[in-house]
Structure formats: structure tokens, C-alpha cells
Symmetry: C3
């Protein structure tokens, strides 16, 4: 079971790096093909959600600092839930007149084991605060 | 031993969620009934400390982002210590004239295994910085 | 393998405490004697890097809040890599006219097992943002 915990922890960290590096293939590889993302704008298929990420953005750099996930995983189970706090730093380009933004997020993930790898099949992404 | 590490990690994350959601029963369930909290105002029984939490507060939302605990646990032991960094975001209600507050905290916990569950029996809560 | 993961995680947390407490011997004990630190100013032997740390600094207090390390460790291996996000709070002395500084860092560590302990033998330290 503990090897699963290590892999589930790595899943979140891989997400952080993939999204901060805008590596869209790496992001897609962390979700099941039919995954859904529930966010501010309702529920979106992961493919659409990633397509939106590809568009222009108002900041130059991001950093997703994640807390330890609260993992719920039964013995031998092939499904689990992760509840993860994150603070997301969005840094504007140098010289920008807009202030940087920091978001307090909470990700509630349903994950599933697919051929020895854990993937996210549903993420509810909640903004707790922004400043 | 490693299953213990997972449970000890979860203990901190459960604390963060319980306190951020103001779920006072869930907070109480993470401490032994006779637990002591050492903080800015001296040493307080956990029951009194939780009673104080129930009172009015100057912020609307909190988020406790915890670092990984530094765990000290001997093989087969039923007691352990946790040393955890935390950044606590205290967000004012919308329209407040007061600024938000961010605290850098360090929790030094003595924990004990009570019937297969790990509970905090003493917490020394230190504020490292505030801004 | 999982005991190794716990030790690798503790390595980062020990670093955070040692550097925040300015315990230079404790810092040195986390690196191999011939370790190299790659930072803003090129590659530096760890002994020189620690000597520089001893000098005066412009802030009074620091806190290194680390994300979970992304660990790469083969079964039975005596070497591993760690990829760790960190937010470093540098707090000025009270009354300082200078603003506090917060840094978004990423540490890429090559670590090696030396007589049952994991030590850092190369760290690439990258500043992702500062504000």
C-alpha cells in the first residue's frame, strides 16, 4: 500500500511541474482520457481544459506549491481520493502594471489505477482565496 | 513503520482541514482528551483552547498549508514527535479595511498511539513570523 | 524502498531547519564533503557555500517551506534524485525600511547513500521568482 502512497504523492508533484512548465502532453498523461475537471466554469472534459490552458495568459511564471495530499485508499483498492491544498503563485511579466496574484486552492481528486499507473479521472478544483 | 508515517502525515492534514472548516468536533478528535497546547498565552488544555476557537474571529477564511512533518518514531514505538512548518493564511471578509495576515508557524507535537490511532497529546505552537 | 523515501523526505526537512536556525554544522552534515552547489553565482564547493552563509545577511529570520520532493529512486539503488519546490520567506529585522522578500525556489539534488545515511552531493538551486 505504501508504494501506492508514494506514487499518489508523485502524481501531484508531476502535475505541479507539468503545469508550471506548460508541458501540455505531460499534463494530459496524468489524467484518464475521459477525465472531467470541475472548476469555476462548471465541468469540463480534460481535453478542452488543456486546450484552454494553451491559450494566452496574463502571467509569465507560475508555481504550484502543494501541501501533502490527504489520501484515502483502501487495502488493495484500484481507486483512491486525494484532497490537496495548493498555493499557486502567478507572477506577472517584468514591467507589468498588474499585480502578481496568489491563489489558495483545494484539489479534490478521484484517481484510478490504470495498468500500474495512477491517473486522475475527476478533479474538483476549488479556489479558497485569492490575493 | 511506514504505515505509521502515512497516518502521522494524515494527522497534520486532518488538523488543517478541521481548523480551516471550523469543525470543532473534528479538531477535538485529533487530540487526547488531556492534551495541552503551548502557545503565545502559555499552556492551555485542549478543551479550553477549542472553546476559544469557537469565539468570534477577525478573519473570514483560513488556510493552513503545512510542510512535510519531520517525524521521529522508533521501530514499534507508540509515541512519536512531529516537527511541522506551516504557513497560515488568514483572509479578511470582503470589504474589510484590515489587511490579510500571513503567519509562519512551527508546530512541535508529541503524539501517542491510542487504539490504532495517532493523537496529539502536546502541541507547542510557535509563531516564527507574521506579515 | 519506502524507508528510503522517508529518509529522503526527512533530508529536505532537516535542511530547512538547519538553514533557518543557522546551524552550520547541521547543514554541513547533510552534504557529502565534496558536494557542489550550483546557484546564481556558478558552482561552489559546499564548504565555501556554507562559509558564505556565515556572513552577515540582510534579513533577521528565514523560513523554508518545502513542497513534497519528487523522488527518483530505483529499487535497491544507492543514488537518487530529488526535485523540490520551496518558498523561502526572508523577514527583515523589525524597523527595517527594506521590504521582506519571498523567493520561489526549486532544488534539484543528486543524493547518495553513505553508510546508511542519504547525503546531497550536488544541488542545483534555481530561483523561479522573487517578490
Amino acid at each position: 500500500m505504501s508504494e501506492d502512497h508514494e506514487q499518489l504523492r508523485a502524481l501531484g508533484q508531476r502535475y505541479a511541474r507539468a503545469v508550471d512548465e506548460r508541458d501540455f502532453d505531460a499534463i494530459a498523461a496524468l489524467f484518464t482520457p475521459d477525465a472531467q475537471i470541475d472548476g469555476l466554469r462548471g465541468s469540463t472534459p480534460v481535453s478542452v481544459w488543456i486546450e484552454n490552458l494553451r491559450g494566452p495568459r496574463s502571467f509569465a511564471t507560475s508555481m504550484h506549491l502543494l501541501g501533502e495530499p490527504l489520501i484515502s485508499l483502501g487495502p488493495g483498492a484500484d481507486v483512491a481520493t486525494l484532497d490537496t491544498y495548493a498555493v499557486v503563485y502567478q507572477i506577472r511579466p517584468e514591467g507589468s502594471v498588474e499585480a502578481d496574484l496568489t491563489l489558495g486552492m483545494r484539489y479534490l481528486d478521484d484517481v484510478v489505477r490504470v495498468e500500474a499507473r495512477w491517473l486522475i479521472r475527476r478533479r474538483a478544483s476549488k479556489m479558497i482565496w485569492a490575493k
